[in-house]
């Protein structure tokens, strides 16, 4: 699949230029380290208020892409737009980042660390301290506020980092593997926090290998492989695009006896490959017209993990 290319991106938007709706946009971004090309002409846009999934195998270039978006690294080629303009240090106050290789000052006390990180986001000392207390309560860690970070468990430390990330109520939040190391209760808590952000119109970029979380949370996704953008679009559309032209039919009747070419599906129904010209709804009408008593009917939609494996294992 060819990488998406956009050619009409101006270096500096003229006054009549319509500012893109994207909170974060990349246009033809390339970056190399020595001989290694980390990113090659990547263009994509993260829209306001969505949960955007950034997917890809290890070493695909996701972290480099995030770093460039947050002005931590500069691209060799291409343009980045943050909140509709080239990134500036002031814009970073409206963003937050939870890196995959996350770190903390282990000898610092929890409240002290959060207050400091809040101050770095431009919050006043009192506001940062209040936000630290509020977010520690949100992640059920108020009791450890005055403990050193080094005394916390891995999961607790991770929640402190998530609290640090969300405490400035950023318009754009980039979360790299936010669920790793969390128990199911805390996974549910973080999921709820992300949903809450969406409800309040805040944008979240979610980079994760947990595909069921992507399916549950993301509106749109981009898949990077070997520095190139290989898939980009709405999650449901992508899933449909990579789905087989098949349906599952649950019925008490024997479809094979009725002359339908079907196989038994592991979920209990009959798996039927549709003719190329047929649609799922049309085929259902046809089944009913032919007297099949349908208990349940479902077009077969590919799971994100299947699409991921399919795309990165070179089968596409």
């Amino acid at each position: 699949m060819a990488a998406v290319t956009v050619t009409d991106w101006p270096t500096r938007p003229p006054s009549r230029y319509t500012v893109p709706m994207g909170v974060l946009a990349y246009r033809g971004v390339s970056k190399r380290f020595g001989q290694h090309s980390a990113l090659d002409g990547v263009s994509l846009e993260v829209a306001q208020g969505e949960v955007f999934g950034l997917l890809g195998p290890n070493g695909a270039g996701k972290t480099t892409l995030i770093r460039i978006g947050l002005d931590i690294l500069r691209p060799d080629e291409g343009e980045v737009s943050l909140f509709g303009a080239a990134p500036t240090p002031h814009m970073l106050d409206r963003t937050a980042y939870l890196p995959e290789e996350r770190g903390v000052y282990r000898r610092a006390k929890v409240r002290e660390l959060l207050t400091y990180l809040g101050r770095l986001k431009g919050m006043k000392r009192a506001a940062a301290a209040a936000a630290a207390d509020h977010w520690l309560e949100r992640v059920s860690l108020s009791r450890v506020a005055d403990q050193r970070v080094e005394s916390l468990s891995k999961g607790m430390t991770q929640k402190v980092q998530i609290a640090a990330c969300l405490m400035s109520d950023p318009e754009l939040c980039v979360l790299d593997e936010p669920f790793s190391g969390l128990d199911p209760v805390n996974v549910a808590l973080v999921t709820e926090l992300i949903e809450e952000r969406r409800r309040s119109g805040r944008t979240t970029v979610l980079s994760t290998h947990m595909m069921h979380q992507v399916e549950a949370l993301c509106d749109r996704v981009a898949l990077i492989h070997r520095g190139k953008l290989v898939v980009y679009g709405r999650l449901d559309e992508i899933r449909r695009r990579y789905s087989p032209h098949e349906v599952i039919v649950w019925t008490e009747m024997d479809l094979l006896a009725l002359g339908v070419e079907a196989t038994q599906h592991k979920a209990g129904g009959w798996r039927v490959e549709l003719p190329a010209s047929a649609t799922a709804s049309g085929y259902l009408n046809e089944l009913v017209r032919n007297g099949v008593l349908v208990d349940r009917y479902e077009p077969l939609v590919a799971r994100m993990d299947e699409i991921f494996v399919h795309l990165v294992s070179g089968e596409h």
Binding site: G34, R67, I72, L73, Y97, R102, G103, Y116, L120, K121
Partner: protein, 424 residues
Amino acid sequence: MRIRRIAAVARFELLSVVKRWSYLLATFGLPLFLAAISGIVIGLQTYFFSQRAEESSQFGLIDEAKVLDRSLFETQDGELRWKANEGADEVLLYESREEASKELGSGRLRAMYVIEQDYLANGQVRAVESEKTPLLSMRGTSIEPLLRKLLRKSLVQGRLDGDVKERVLSPAFFLRSRLGPDGDEVVDVDEALDLLVRTSIPLFLGILLLTALLSASGYLVQTVSTDKESKIVEVLLSSVTPEEILAGKLFGLGAAGLVQFAAWSSMVVFVAVSASAALAGVVSIPWGALALAPVFFVLGYLFLGSLMLATAALGANAAESQKLTMGWAMLAILPLMVPVILLEEPNGILGQVMTWIPFTSPLTVIVRLAVDPSGIAWWEVGGSMLVLLISTWLSIRIGARLFRVGFLLTGTMPSLAELWRQAR
């Protein structure tokens, strides 16, 4: 750059360091420790010498060459004795080695000296100590110069007359004076002591300046390594620019270093004031050097610190960062590698050259100002500050770029060309 962010980083770094026990101990404990050590050493020395003064020390002398003037000896209890000095040292004249050896073996004598038969030809005097005599007790005594005096007196007796004889025995009495604003004033002090007090305070101040500089720079290296090893770098860089982090760390840890230097300098002032009170006219407090020391500390620290930060950021861990920054530290130490030249000839060619090199100028200027304030021109002080300022500006600019690249580096360090490409 945003001042409030820099202040937030600086405050955090400052508090992180000053809360450490190691810092408190080094800053306030070191002066107390040195004072305690000095007190103990001086106390022990005083005690040792007072004990020595109370001891009676007797030495045996055998004149096989027959050169001694026996009229210089007094007869007491059937023995010939020479009161060597105002103290208790006494020389007993023996007729034979055996007799003196017996007394040495019994412990009465601390040592015996034999003026051997061919003394006039080769000047040899054999010094014999007993096994019981501690090595230092004889070496440390002042008897040997006095024995030389006794021999000189004996040798000139009857051979020279009047003033010539006196001048042979005491060729010169040096009257020391120092040129001051009111002409030259006589100073009654030993030359060695004079040199010692004139150079020890500047040297002390210089060492403290350098130690404080390297200590503060060491904190910088440590904090960068901590940030990299704890992997908090990306979190910081997603909020503040590398330049703001660099500036915040420089200022925060510089403040910690300045407090340390102030505490240590107060010790120098205390020593200088005490020495000045005790040895008026010999020790002058180097007020000029003391006043400019904080300025040179700050400038030197900003210059060296920004280079250290940038270089330390290229290391993957603390050990690697230490190795990478060692070169800068060695350059800063350079003036202390040639302390004798700098102290004896502060305004010589070496001192003048090192005044203009930003790595060496803080220490050199302060030592030159402390040793001989009249020997360094105002334009040299001002010029060295200007060079240091320009170098600091440059090192912060280059340092910030390297810091940006280095801060995110992990694993193998890229080539210099690649570093430069990333830093542009």
